[in-house]
């Protein structure tokens, strides 16, 4: 060590064995990912772990009273609280309505718009535009269109002799309205994913099938649909997860009403945490939501594996 200090130029040489190329690359690698990693730890993993602890306590934000209550929050939600099961039911209805409708429409649009033709970019843009439109603007405009008698939707229906319902004021119609408007907003994203998948299918397959005498439906059923399966699975998983997490749309269009008809899980959690300031209870509900989404994802992955074997 002493000899090192005698000449400044030799300082680097002894260090070289430690800082091998491999080490250097490792350090550089960590440095490159560190911004994301630090963000992930502080803003994602940290809160995620904290939620587990919060869910075991009764914590009133305003008075800062915190009591450890074990699993009482979970017990209350699952066995005592009738609203909770209505909320779960609403979330399931929302997902069951939204996912198939969204996927069917996305696939239909993708089939129509995957191949180039005059104006295809225009149509793709039209259907994708709502995805990048502000959710607030989207919800407010639809709320306006879906007014009782004065709303544009009902006035259009009236011209063909249909007496439209008061969409956002009747529980079942309100649910239908939020599902359909949500599908219209988000379908463009899945459409793009399907278009990408369709374009990656070599045209040879289709042509070979056609030469063998397959009908259009058979080509779709036997060639295209199986090749789209990985994309379909991904779309199904992300759309289902997204539908369980829906919040902004409900908050803006119905506020969970009428008669709690559109009170879905994410909105209910928001209400508990940010209107009632029951952070512990809200955290327990968030954990339940996490488990539901995780379970759905696992089930879908298993189904996919069974399907491919």
């Amino acid at each position: 060590m002493a000899s090192l200090n005698e000449t400044g130029t030799t300082v680097r040489a002894p260090r070289a064995p430690w800082l091998t190329l491999k080490r250097r690359e490792t350090i550089e690698g960590w440095l490159f990912v560190s911004p994301t990693l630090i963000g992930f730890l502080i803003f994602f993993l940290g809160p995620l772990i904290a939620v587990v602890f919060y869910s075991l306590s009764e914590w009133n934000l305003l008075s800062q009273d915190t009591t450890f209550v074990g699993l009482a929050n979970y017990e209350d939600a699952l066995t005592q609280n009738p609203d909770f099961w209505q909320v779960i039911r609403n979330s399931v209805i929302f997902a069951a309505g939204l996912v198939p409708m969204n996927m069917a429409l996305a696939l239909a649009l993708a089939m129509a718009l995957a191949r180039p033709f005059r104006g295809v970019v225009f149509f793709r843009t039209i259907f994708f535009a709502p995805v990048v439109t502000s959710a607030v603007a989207w919800a407010i405009v639809w709320k306006f269109l879906l007014q009782g008698d004065a709303g544009a939707v009902n006035q259009m229906l009236a011209t063909v002799g249909i007496d439209g319902p008061n969409w956002l004021r009747e529980p079942n119609w309100a649910m239908a309205a939020v599902i359909v408007t949500r599908v219209l907003k988000m379908v463009g994203l899945n459409m793009i994913l399907y278009i990408a998948a369709l374009q990656s299918i070599p045209r040879d397959y289709e042509e070979a099938a056609r030469l063998e005498g397959a009908s259009e439906w058979q080509i779709f059923r036997m060639v295209i649909w199986p090749l789209l399966a990985p994309t379909t699975l991904i779309i199904m998983v992300i759309t289902t997860i997204g539908s369980f997490k829906v919040f902004d749309h409900i908050y803006l269009m119905t506020g969970g009403g009428p008669e709690n008809g559109t009170l879905v899980l994410a909105f209910y959690i928001y209400q508990q945490a940010f209107e009632f300031f029951e952070i512990g209870y809200a955290s327990a509900l968030a954990m339940i939501m996490f488990v539901i989404v995780l379970a759905l994802t696992v089930v879908q992955l298993i189904l996919r594996q069974k399907g491919s074997t």
Partner: protein, 420 residues
């Protein structure tokens, strides 16, 4: 290593420099009070800054910074500031959130300090006005706005319907719920407009209490009292039935799911506070304000309140209390009366208040003054957010054409009883 060490030292020096210059710039004795409000209105802020400027005469080193948080997020953001250990020194408080803040112990009792303040005269604030903000001798806030709900009406539409002016009906003692219902129906028939719109068109959502409480109180009913729900009481049922009939039989009230707007001329009457008169010059029609219609229980004016509180976790509680006292002394209450009707009896009776609002004629302001003196505040409760959330779905069911009013109101009571 050496290089690193050097950088560290440099950073250290820099930090020390910043800290030193901050100290120098701040001066040793300068203090800042942070005061949260929900108004972003320039005229309001100018007035508030003017009051803060006046405070500097006695406290030259104190600056007051008014921080606007929009009303819709106000209680939520304030709660998070307090929970996050960063409370403001003072803040405006809504009537519906103060009980929960008192119960949680986050607002300071400033009663003793106010009583010791020379010339303050706490008793000048009327008893009913202080009800919500005090508990025995403890005072957790001072109402700066005690604003009754008044009927705003479109004079042109009343004329078109051949109806007598509501103020004339008030004089004759005929401005009753029946007269109001009758007027709403005739206004709907005579004009291409709704007869009546609930406050801000939100009567089925965030303003349910503003929609139902005026008739319920006029009929002698109440929302809840001493832990007992009053919505299923026959008086309340009778009052709500009238509203229901007006919406669905007469079709004279803007129904749920529709948008009507008094200020743009699509409804002939609405209920609001006098601060909304600021919207009237652009309205383009003749208008007036009248008291709420009376019922079998007589006149039952309803007041919306907002107060000023000092937060218990603030660093400058004493100074903040001094500023609260200064802001609500007789002189400044008079200043604020141009926008916010006062709860000080001395100001309420003064010509200064009657003439304070240049948009509203003195004789109409006299009705405002009467309503403040006789009125009672909207129902409040420390569990208000949960009660309102539990009520909401049942009231959604009430505001349907085929609703069974008594049964639905009984369901409202069943839903909120636990929280009361």
């Amino acid at each position: 290593m050496k290089k690193g060490g050097l950088t560290m030292t440099r950073q250290g020096l820099f930090a020390a420099g910043v800290a030193a210059s901050a100290l120098l710039a701040g001066g040793a004795s300068a203090q800042e009070l942070r005061f949260t409000v929900w108004t972003g209105n320039d005229a309001h802020l100018e007035m508030l800054n003017g009051i803060a400027e006046g405070f500097r005469e006695s406290h030259p080193d104190v600056t007051v910074r008014f921080e606007t948080i929009p009303a819709g997020d106000y209680t939520q953001k304030l709660t998070f500031q307090i929970a996050g250990g960063n409370p403001p020194d003072l803040g405006w408080m809504f009537e519906d959130s103060i009980p929960a803040f008192i119960a949680a112990g986050v607002v300071e009792d400033i009663g003793p300090a106010l009583r010791e303040t020379e010339g303050y005269d706490l008793d000048d604030f009327s008893g009913p006005a202080m009800d919500l903000w005090s508990d025995g001798d403890a005072v957790y806030g001072i109402p700066f706005s005690t604003s009754p709900f008044m009927v705003f009406y479109n004079k042109d539409m009343f004329e078109a319907a051949g109806l007598e002016d509501p103020l004339a009906m008030v004089e004759a003692g005929e401005w009753t719920m029946e007269a109001f219902r009758d007027a709403a129906l005739k206004l709907t028939e005579a004009n291409d407009a709704w007869g009546f719109e609930f406050k801000d068109g939100e009567g089925y959502d965030s303003r349910i209490m503003h929609a139902i409480m005026p008739p319920i109180r006029a009929y002698g009913g109440h929302a809840w009292q001493d832990g007992e729900c009053g919505f299923d009481d026959p008086k309340a049922v009778e009052a709500v039935t009238i509203l229901h009939d007006m919406i669905f039989e007469d079709q004279s009230i803007v129904p749920p799911g529709e948008q009507g707007d008094f200020f743009s001329g699509s409804a002939a009457m609405t209920v609001n506070q006098i601060s909304r008169a600021s919207k009237m010059p652009e309205a383009g029609f003749a208008w007036g304000i009248a008291p709420l219609p009376t019922g079998p229980a007589g006149a039952a004016p309803i007041i919306g309140q907002a107060g000023i509180s000092v937060f218990a976790q603030g660093d400058n509680k004493e100074l903040a209390t001094e500023f609260a006292a200064f802001m609500t002394n007789a002189e400044n209450v008079e200043v604020m009366a141009q926008f916010f009707p006062p709860a000080r009896a001395s100001v309420l009776d003064s010509d200064a208040f009657i003439d304070a609002n240049e948009l509203i004629p003195a004789e109409q302001m006299a009705h405002v003054s009467d309503a403040i003196k006789q009125g009672s505040v909207l129902p409040s409760h420390e569990n208000a957010p949960k009660i309102l959330a539990a009520m909401k779905p049942r009231f959604d069911a009430l505001f349907r054409a085929d609703a069974d009013v008594p049964a639905t109101l009984a369901a409202v009571c069943a839903a909120i009883q636990d929280e009361l």
